[in-house]
């Protein structure tokens, strides 16, 4: 869309001045590269019946390849790419920043966010999240941000969460997504958004016999650390809740920041998971509690299992989970060694195409694969909402389901997104179909009889099986591929295929 494009240029100019770029020509170069559609002149297409391992890596450790990514990573080597991804701060991400850093509310302290309307904050958060997933070169970081945003789910429509989630995203999730799990849990425990979402700020001791609010304590043990089968008891939940009494949120000055009110804290001795937390610990109780929970062997197993399930297969292979849990234990909960273990494993390599994309992954991978130009506006968010996967819109603390089954009812909406995207009628993004077709070698009419096979191979990372090819070819043969709408439909059909729903 013209307006979006012009807006973008205007804003790029403004941001450009404040970014540490060496000079104007550099900035223009970066923008020109992007405005060119980001699609190289030529895109090699695989002819292998098995999914290309580089394609697989980019699809699982991130949201799928953008045009040209495969060749870059192949040249660099997958190991080097993984190491690079594990140090995201060293990856130049200015092109993504140009799009994603236009939302004022994302960078502000929580108190300042109260100046904004809820719908502005909701949009800013969602758009920021989407744009980073689509455009960031720090794909592994974005994948882990998605993973931990579910693991430490916060529903922004509850209470004041919407004013506080940007800080949670920045200072809890993004800051620690590739760091140490214990730091992540502790940051989350005291995150203002979490204190609101799971009623931590209401958990206080009121006189003798006062009853603590167990909401957060239960989820801490059940969802965030040990897991539901982790071996804790109701008594442990109760004792953990006692440790967490007294944390409040400022309402006047410093609104939306957390503080500890000693007078509301139950300062007696507690015993959690068999470990004693001595009386008089005050604000330190939460740290001891998080240490005890994160050191528990069930937590290593639970987090390892969830990560393996996220990156390898729904039914996590037990041997791999065991190795990953061992990395957790020996590194005191560092996330990077766990990721390295998974991404370099045989189990990972042999799992290509076996998972189903959740809607968010599906939409982002469509946008990436087509080299789409989007500012992630309302229309795009509406597609996600329709598929039941809007960012930060899951009400309950277990986060969006990871498995395929709950998402099987979303196929129609995926198809409609694919057709609208490819025909540039979605209002959500613009793609240059002609450029893409030309890059994969379909610009002259004689090559177009192979369009079905070539496009499939490009989008799915392997050549189609005979039955798949037959189904698409039958459609292609009925259409005049000189016609732009027919090309849009054929491309949309491949993005709608079962193979592209998988990852």
């Amino acid at each position: 869309m013209k307006v979006t494009r012009r807006d973008f240029l205007a804003i790029s100019g403004l941001i450009g001045c404040s970014l540490p770029l060496s000079g104007c020509s550099n900035l223009n170069g970066l923008i020109a590269d992007r405005m060119g559609g980001g699609i190289p002149e030529k895109l090699p297409v695989t002819n292998d019946p098995q999914i290309d391992p580089v394609f697989h890596l980019l699809s699982r450790a991130g949201f799928g390849p953008r045009p040209g990514d495969i060749e870059r990573v192949r040249q660099q080597g997958t190991k080097a790419w993984i190491e690079e991804q594990l140090e995201p701060e060293k990856i130049d991400d200015r092109l993504c920043d140009l799009r994603a850093r236009r939302f004022e509310s994302i960078e502000l302290d929580p108190g300042m966010c109260y100046e904004f309307k809820r719908e502005v904050l909701r949009k800013d958060l969602s758009r920021y999240h989407l744009l980073r997933s689509v455009y960031s070169k720090r794909q592994l970081l974005e994948s882990m941000v998605e993973f931990f945003s579910d693991h430490f789910n916060i529903y922004i429509e509850k209470g004041d969460c919407i004013y506080l989630k940007a800080t949670d995203d920045r200072a809890v999730i993004r800051k620690n997504a590739l760091g140490c799990f214990r730091d992540l849990v502790l940051a989350s425990a005291l995150s203002p958004a979490m204190l609101v979402y799971l009623d931590g700020k209401e958990n206080k001791k009121e006189g003798p016999g006062g009853i603590p609010n167990e909401n957060y304590a239960r989820e801490l043990l059940e969802l965030h650390t040990l897991g539901v089968d982790g071996g804790y008891t109701q008594k442990d939940v109760y004792e953990a809740a006692r440790c967490l009494t007294g944390w409040r949120l400022h309402s006047g000055k410093g609104r939306g920041t957390a503080y500890f009110d000693k007078s509301l804290h139950d300062d007696g001795e507690k015993v959690v998971l068999g470990a004693k937390i001595p009386r008089g610990g005050g604000a330190k109780d939460v740290e001891l509690l998080v240490d005890i929970a994160c050191r528990h062997p069930s937590t290593a197993r639970h987090i390892a299992g969830k990560l393996v399930s996220h990156l390898v297969s729904q039914e996590a292979p037990p041997a791999l989970t065991k190795r990953v849990a061992a990395r957790y234990v020996e590194s005191s909960g560092k996330i990077k060694p766990m990721l390295r273990e998974i991404l370099l494993s045989q189990e990972f390599r042999s799992s290509a195409g076996l998972k189903m994309k959740r809607p968010f992954h599906y939409v982002v991978s469509c946008l990436r694969a087509t080299g789409a130009d989007t500012m992630a506006g309302d229309q795009l968010l509406e597609y996600l909402t329709r598929m039941g996967h809007g960012p930060f819109q899951y009400p309950t603390p277990d986060g969006y389901p990871a498995e395929a089954n709950p998402w099987l009812g979303t196929l129609l909406w995926r198809w409609n997104f694919a057709f609208a995207l490819c025909s540039n009628s979605s209002g959500a993004a613009k793609i240059s179909l002609s450029r893409l077709w030309s890059a994969v070698g379909l610009n002259d009419a004689s090559a177009r009889s192979n369009a079905a096979e070539i496009l499939f191979s490009y989008f799915v990372g392997r050549r189609p099986q005979n039955s798949e090819l037959a189904a698409i070819q039958e459609f292609a043969d009925q259409r005049n591929l000189e016609d732009e709408m027919a090309r849009a439909e054929l491309t949309g059909l491949i993005l709608s295929s079962p193979a592209f729903q998988k990852v």
Partner: protein, 405 residues
């Protein structure tokens, strides 16, 4: 249950198609109140002084106090009263078409929303899995009895666990949305291509692909007519109200709707839940006005609709330090249908004593396994002959919710 026997069980289901089932054509509407609804404040035990003692700020006022003011509860009998916001359901209750079953629940001691919802949606006993969702198992007993793509519909974006493994279930928010928006004029060419493509899938996607395409054809026919609720029924303007309206539309359209699932979220009232007014009262109002509109809209279809309202657990009997209630155990289930022993609170009142830690979160005692309620609905209204097909190894109590002919 070990893996083997679970597979055997599923195999048995597949091999034993539905000679067991008769009387098709009834729609079961399952309303799930997610978050653990405080049914003690919905069906108020006003004659129990303890209720007022342990809920000093959130108790719903005695029917006599306030003299029929907007805050006083609505007397049902010498012991119970409706929450004032349930008033829309009072005529249905008095008409004998609504039954309330007190002290229902699970044997799940975790106090976890997800564990308990999962267990209930799967129709399991604690840590014993029968495989898939209870509604899916019910639908499987109907194999061969003309299942349609609209046999099982879930209102909202996600197919619930209760339909896991169902032979075709769709998640929708309105039937108007169910169409392929093709770039060109002819969506049928695309449907054909998609149909061929999804046939090639050897994994989980081939069945939902086919179901989706079948549904599109079916709905195209239905969409031709504009919908106007009968008897001037007005649904509340909310996702819940609109969802019920779509269910009514599908019921009347006679598209073979066996099971419809709809959620009403937000019952996890740990904090300032309110009494006669406030947070929970607003939810109760949405629930009751929605169900009342649904009932009057479908007045001519009453024989063919049964509505079940459940939640994962009730809440503690006493209020907590933040004017809310924490997770409890027993709750009151609701059934709206013809042929009920309605107009009464079925089940026993277990009193408001609190159990100890050992049993997990305390609350109202569970006197009746939730599966007894589900079994009775399925066998008495949905034509299921043997409830063991849906709840293997479970011996239901006779709840006497429905009249025996």
């Amino acid at each position: 249950m070990p893996h083997e026997s679970r597979r055997q069980f599923l195999k048995k289901l597949a091999l034993n198609p539905s000679k067991l089932v008769s009387e098709p054509g009834t729609t079961l509407v399952c309303v799930f109140l997610r978050g653990g609804a405080d049914t003690l404040n919905m069906f108020v035990p006003y004659a129990d002084d303890t209720y007022y003692k342990i809920r000093p700020t959130i108790a719903v006022p005695h029917p006599k106090k306030g003299k029929n003011g907007p805050d006083s509860s609505l007397k049902l009998d010498d012991f119970y009263a409706f929450h004032p916001k349930l008033s829309a359901l009072l005529p249905i209750y008095k008409d004998g078409r609504m039954a309330i079953v007190q002290a229902v629940g699970t044997d799940n001691p975790t106090g976890s929303h997800f564990e308990t919802q999962d267990q209930m949606e799967h129709g399991d006993a604690y840590r014993k899995t029968a495989g898939g969702g209870w509604l899916a198992r019910y639908l499987r007993t109907r194999f061969g009895n003309s299942l349609t793509p609209l046999s099982a519909v879930s209102i909202g974006p996600i197919i619930p666990e209760s339909l896991r493994g169902a032979p075709g279930a769709s998640a929708i928010s309105s039937i108007d949305e169910i169409r392929i928006k093709a770039p060109c004029e002819n969506p049928h060419v695309l449907s054909k291509a998609l149909s061929n493509l999804y046939k090639t899938d050897v994994g989980v996607l081939s069945a939902p692909g086919k179901d989706t395409l079948d549904l599109l054809t079916r709905v195209e026919t239905l969409r031709a007519k504009e919908y106007k609720p009968a008897n001037g029924s007005e649904y509340p303007d909310s996702g819940f109200g609109r969802g019920l309206r779509e269910i009514a539309r599908l019921v009347k359209a006679d598209v073979g709707l066996d099971v419809a699932c709809i959620d009403l979220d937000g019952w996890d009232t740990h904090f300032v839940q309110g009494g006669a007014t406030g947070l929970q009262a607003a939810l109760i109002e949405t629930l009751s006005t929605g169900l009342a509109a649904f009932d009057s809209d479908l007045a001519d279809w009453r024989k063919r609709v049964v509505t079940l309202v459940i939640t994962e657990f009730g809440r503690r009997t006493y209020e907590n330090g933040s004017l809310g209630t924490d997770h409890g155990r027993g709750f009151a289930a609701m059934v709206i249908a013809d042929g009920l022993q309605g107009g009464q609170i079925i089940g026993r009142y277990p009193g408001l004593k609190e159990a100890g830690w050992i049993l997990g979160p305390s609350g109202l005692d569970v006197l009746f396994d939730y599966r007894s309620v589900l079994s009775e609905v399925l066998t008495m209204k949905m034509g299921l002959k043997d409830c063991k097909e849906v709840f293997p190894g479970f011996q239901p109590q006779d709840m006497e919710i429905f009249k025996r002919s």
